[in-house]
């Protein structure tokens, strides 16, 4: 994948940073942060927020004014059935087939319930949804999600909101090599820009995050920092990072070095 554009279900994107819209100090902070981060896709939750009946809520108007692709999520759903109902409402309200499918197994870790996730992916894909499942690095689950109709996978870096970065880099590397042609997005657990750069250097296609920017001391500046780190990581991946070695290897060739000290010449 050397193309600079990211392709998700046929949509081409220049930005590889996907931003959540929750937890910001104010809608103005959100707008400025999305601009600073250069995101072309934002996620938003249907649960409670923006789910007002009838005419669109003001917050939803605010999101529309961002003029970016919307990736509605099923945050807070605990069963496939619950997620499917939420997804159908999201499609109606937000007018998109895209769906970040999140089925949560456990309140303490917010880890995905892989069984329910596969079931909901199968059903929603058959209903024409373009599913972005929030999953783990488990390769078996990943294969089942792909055969259920998902064309993009979103493994976690660490549990949602923990900001711990890539807790299992080995498994994430394996997943990347195992699915070289599937768009893979690290979703959740990112805390610092270096975490995002690390995933991008591994060859991940994009980063999805929310808390790391929204709850930063200065969200707008942090969004700008993440934009740079995602671009740096991507560029580094394309530029082919050197292999690690055990022994030092001088960066300046020793052969031909003059014997005198250049500093003492004058």
């Amino acid at each position: 994948m050397t193309s600079s554009q990211l392709h998700l279900y046929g949509t081409s994107l220049s930005s590889r940073l996907i931003m959540g819209t929750a937890l910001y100090p104010s809608p103005d902070h959100l707008t400025q942060s999305v601009k600073a981060g250069g995101a072309e896709v934002v996620t938003l939750s249907l649960r409670r927020e923006t789910a007002g009946e009838g005419s669109g809520a003001d917050f939803w108007e605010h999101i529309k004014a961002l003029n970016v692709h919307l990736l509605p999520n099923t945050a807070g759903c605990r069963t496939a059935k619950d997620a499917i109902t939420t997804a159908q409402m999201a499609r109606e309200i937000f007018g998109t087939k895209w769906l970040k499918l999140e089925v949560i197994a456990n309140d303490d870790t917010l880890q995905p319930d892989l069984f329910e996730l596969v079931e909901a992916t199968k059903e929603l894909s058959s209903q024409g949804f373009q599913v972005f499942p929030y999953t783990t690095e488990d390769l078996g689950a990943a294969e089942k999600l792909l055969s259920a109709g998902a064309e993009v996978l979103m493994p976690w870096g660490a549990p949602i909101g923990t900001g711990r970065g890539l807790m299992n880099p080995y498994a994430l590397r394996t997943m990347r090599s195992y699915f070289p042609d599937i768009p893979l997005i690290v979703d959740a657990g990112i805390g610092a820009p270096s975490h995002a750069a690390e995933a991008m250097e591994m060859g991940y296609d994009a980063i999805l995050l929310n808390t790391a920017i929204a709850k930063a001391g200065d969200p707008v500046a942090m969004a700008a920092a993440f934009k740079l780190s995602v671009e740096a990581g991507r560029l580094a991946h394309q530029a082919l990072i050197i292999e690690q070695r055990d022994m030092a290897s001088p960066s300046t060739p020793v052969a031909g070095t003059p014997f005198f000290d250049l500093d003492n010449l004058n």
Binding site: S26, D28, S55, H62, K215, D218
Partner: protein
């Protein structure tokens, strides 16, 4: 002496009316509800006077204004408690406490010994807390009553159930909250409702002396002691225009957090479940919007009680002395 209409008898309107009446102007306070405070968002407020805690959400620029406003509260007629604020977190969420401390100023990390002196009821329940000594709180409904009595004493006129056209006046100060949404829209100011849900309980067996905020990664909450052994437990912050009754989930979460602070809350009697909307602009800060002799004061978000006296002072200075409305609240 000027004739001043004040529309809306929430905390913003009451302070405007009180301040103008005190300055010797002829005030007419106009309120749409027949019953006082029936529709005011302020009746559901936590009414914490917490300049430092409220600046946690990236709004440090609010602090000097909030401190000035706090002084004005002290100079005013209402009873203010300055017992500080305590922030606590369950041991497993200790990181939230550290993070909150990092984002705010003027606090002290108190350990169990001092904590149990401040709030004996919490002895042995929490190992540490953040203590914001300079912060205060008040009982919102009694404070609103007190302001109203003072407006009457200062010969202010009050009309309840007000509809129709405004009486003649030199200036009108409009504090209608969401009621002014469409008028503000024509001035290119977008007001949105941010839903809040709260519970009031009665619990004579427990004595807490100051607002206690409980940090939690998903659902931070607070408990404010109210008069007559009541506690207000609040509050959700939800971006929706739904202004219907409190949901079961919000009720469970709020009651659960009170139970986490102290199991005695298990025996508390629930007096009130309520939900309402906080009128808010897109930066979540109040604004004074000038439209000739019609002055909108709106968008107090979570800061109505905290900033009401300052906003009144600013409008008064603008009208009496032409002091321009500049900066944060413009």
């Amino acid at each position: 002496m000027l004739k001043i209409n004040i529309i809306g008898a929430g905390i913003l309107g009451l302070w405007q009316a009180y301040r103008f009446a005190k300055a010797g102007h002829q005030v007419h306070l106009l309120e749409q509800s027949e019953t006082l405070f029936e529709k005011a968002s302020s009746r559901l407020a936590g009414a914490m006077l917490a300049p430092f805690c409220e600046s946690e959400a990236s709004q440090k620029e609010l602090i000097p204004h909030a401190l000035k406003s706090l002084e004005l509260w002290h100079e005013g007629p209402c009873e203010i408690h300055t017992n500080g604020t305590l922030i606590i977190a369950p041991p497993r969420d200790r990181i939230e406490l550290i993070s909150f401390a990092k984002r705010t100023i003027e606090h002290e990390l108190v350990k169990s010994e001092k904590l149990s002196k401040l709030e004996p009821a919490l002895e042995g329940r929490f190992d540490e807390a953040l203590y914001y000594e300079r912060e205060g709180h008040l009982a919102p409904r009694p404070a609103m009553e007190t302001l109203l009595e003072n407006i009457k004493k200062l010969n202010g006129q009050i009309s309840l159930g007000f509809k129709g056209s405004l009486p003649h006046a030199n200036y009108t100060v409009d504090t209608r909250g969401m009621g002014a949404k469409s008028d503000l829209k024509t001035l290119d100011k977008t007001l949105r409702p941010v839903r809040g849900e709260m519970v009031v309980v009665h619990l004579p067996d427990l004595k807490l002396h100051r607002p206690i905020r409980l940090l939690h990664p998903r659902m931070p909450s607070y408990i404010v002691p109210w008069p007559d052994d009541q506690y207000m437990i609040g509050a959700t912050v939800i971006e929706t225009d739904d202004d219907g009754p409190i949901t079961l989930r919000a009720g469970l979460e709020l009651l659960g957090s009170a139970f986490t602070v102290h199991p005695s809350f298990g025996e508390a009697k629930i007096i009130e479940f309520n939900a309402g909307s906080r009128p808010s602009f897109s930066d979540n800060l109040p604004k004074i919007v000038l439209e000739g002799d019609h002055i909108f004061v709106n968008g107090a978000y979570r800061h109505g009680f905290l900033l009401a006296p300052l906003l009144a002072e600013m409008v008064l200075a603008y009208i009496e002395e032409g002091v321009p409305i500049e900066g944060l609240f413009q």
